[in-house]
């Protein structure tokens, strides 16, 4: 029996599953918004605004979930400051320590961009704007986008840097989480994005991106199972069934088919596919977290 099977589960359950999902949404939506602001057209900017307006509230909820999940919630700040000396508490080799600072950094940039969405979208005052194309806005978008990627993926590294079965038996959880964060965030923007005429171009670009990301997600999940080798046997149960039918079937394959069936899919089809992708992304976290917890 592999050595990871002699360890105890850390009781990371539904709050953590929800955090992993929402963290992915927050980081992914910010990244998409920054991408649209930096590389999209002027007409796409309402989509970017939607992304920023999802990212910040989502990351606030993430922080609350993590604090509530602690055994001693009132000591949450011990993650950031040493309780005796009040010096910063940071361990570069502890993903949870790194993650606490990453969450804080992302929260800061998400707040700046969130606030920026409420100002007038006026390109003339570009120097003081917190959104691109002004220099300050470009810097905020790039740093926020990078910290968004970090938030979306460090949770996979956090699971890998343990001694638990499945989690520490593959190096690919961070990859799977970051790809899934992109697919679920695209889905949420497609679901909530208003279908106004001037937005059609941006939404089509998002749909094209969605198809590529879903294919990449499918490949990364296959790679994840393959990387477990003979240990993948532990998924020959209800968790494996949920992964195959819920995550891959309902959450990836069906949405891909929906996108491919019509050359110009209707709004209803796009939104149905988006809902399925979101469901699949949530089930992915459920399977990854709870299947190891149950061993």
């Amino acid at each position: 029996m592999p050595s990871t099977f002699f360890t105890e589960a850390p009781h990371w359950r539904w709050l953590i599953v929800l955090y992993f999902f929402l963290g992915g949404i927050a980081g992914g939506c910010y990244f998409l918004a920054a991408l649209i602001d930096l590389f999209g057209r002027m007409t796409d900017r309402p989509l970017a605004r939607l992304g920023y307006r999802i990212a910040f509230p989502a990351v606030v909820v993430c922080g609350i979930l993590l604090i509530v999940d602690l055994g001693r919630p009132e000591r949450f700040w011990h993650m950031l400051l040493q309780s005796e000396t009040w010096r910063p508490m940071f361990k570069s080799y502890s993903p949870m320590s790194f993650g606490a600072w990453g969450l804080l950094a992302f929260g800061f940039f998400a707040l700046l961009s969130f606030v920026a969405t409420f100002g007038p979208d006026d390109r003339r005052r570009r120097r003081v704007r917190l959104r691109p194309p002004g220099l300050l806005g470009v810097i905020v978008a790039i740093l926020g986008g990078l910290s968004g990627f970090f938030l979306a993926s460090y949770t996979g590294v956090l699971l890998a840097v343990t001694n638990r079965p499945i989690w520490s038996d593959t190096p690919l959880l961070g990859l799977v989480f970051v790809v899934s964060s992109a697919s679920t965030s695209i889905a949420l923007l497609l679901l909530l994005g208003p279908r106004r005429v001037f937005l059609i171009g941006g939404l089509r670009a998002l749909q094209r991106f969605d198809v590529v990301v879903l294919v990449l997600e499918l490949l990364s999940i296959i790679a994840l199972v393959a990387s477990l080798g003979s240990l993948a046997r532990v998924w020959l149960n209800q968790w494996g069934a949920l992964l195959a039918f819920g995550v891959v079937g309902v959450g990836i394959v069906v949405p891909l088919l929906l996108h491919r069936r019509a050359h110009a899919p209707t709004a209803a089809v796009v939104k149905a596919a988006a809902l399925l992708v979101l469901l699949g992304g949530f089930l992915l976290r459920v399977v990854i977290v709870l299947s190891s917890e149950s061993i």
Binding site: M1, L70, F209
Partner: protein, 260 residues
């Protein structure tokens, strides 16, 4: 730093009396019952079942019997935190609550721990868990308070057969090697030391003399540090992020006329 101190547990002389468990609970003021519930395992004399936040010592009862029960033996082992020289729990702890002491032991400071539970997943031996009374992660401290006062830990003090030996690691290793030699000479060829050398996590400051493979005692054959996955996992995450970033830029840059 004072000389590294620890435990050498000779499982061949353990009689399963559980005096160590009782002494540990008494000295460390750990509740005897789990929230008022006293439950029996029902299939063993072992009702403690595992180490956790309220059980810092656990005497394992391993029954090895043939199907017709004509042949058999009991293996008994008082399990405890291994106080690894390279400790997984200490590595992942994000609050700095887990520290290495001047005795080279590993201690969780209960007033600093915030109950994030990363150490539970990081421990290769499944030693740590949350104590529901404090809401923090807890485990054996190797009686740090007693050691500071020049006293022996409660469990080894109470052990009536000297299965649990406490002392400087250097002396304990010599004692353990002599005992292995004695057992081998007497015909017990299976005797060996688990965790005494530095190959296992830099050495376990609580090491064991065993007479069966580690798995028989519920011990991992090849315990590892959690950080073994840090670089690989981070690299794959960065590759994933880079791929998404590149594909995103391409999707928004290559737009046909109909995309306006």
């Amino acid at each position: 730093m004072a000389e590294p101190m620890g435990f050498y547990t000779d499982t061949t002389v353990c009689i399963g009396c559980k005096a160590c468990e009782v002494a540990c609970k008494e000295w460390n003021q750990l509740p005897a019952t789990n929230g008022g519930r006293n439950t029996m395992s029902g299939d063993s004399y072992d009702n403690t079942r595992r180490l956790d936040g309220m059980h810092w010592r656990h005497v394992k009862f391993i029954e090895q019997f043939s199907a017709d029960r004509a042949e058999g033996r009991w293996l008994m082992m008082s399990d405890v935190c291994k106080h690894c020289v390279r400790a997984g729990c200490l590595e992942v702890c994000p609050t700095g609550a887990i520290v290495r002491t001047e005795f080279d032991t590993v201690v969780i400071q209960s007033d600093v721990c915030n109950g994030c539970r990363d150490c539970i997943a990081g421990c290769p031996f499944g030693v740590i868990d949350i104590n529901p009374v404090s809401g923090t992660a807890q485990k054996c401290t190797l009686c740090y308070d007693r050691m500071r006062a020049g006293m022996e830990p409660a469990c080894s003090k109470a052990c009536p057969t000297d299965s649990i030996n406490f002392g400087p690691i250097r002396e304990l290793k010599q004692m353990a090697e002599r005992r292995v030699g004695q057992l081998q000479t007497a015909g017990e060829r299976r005797a060996y030391l688990y965790g005494a050398d530095d190959k296992m996590l830099g050495g376990l400051n609580a090491f064991y003399l065993l007479v069966d493979k580690p798995e028989a005692y519920g011990l991992p054959p090849d315990p590892q540090l959690p950080s073994r996955n840090l670089n690989g996992s981070s690299l794959w995450s960065a590759i994933g992020a880079a791929l998404i970033g590149i594909m995103g830029v391409i999707s928004f840059r290559t737009r046909g006329r109909d995309d306006a």
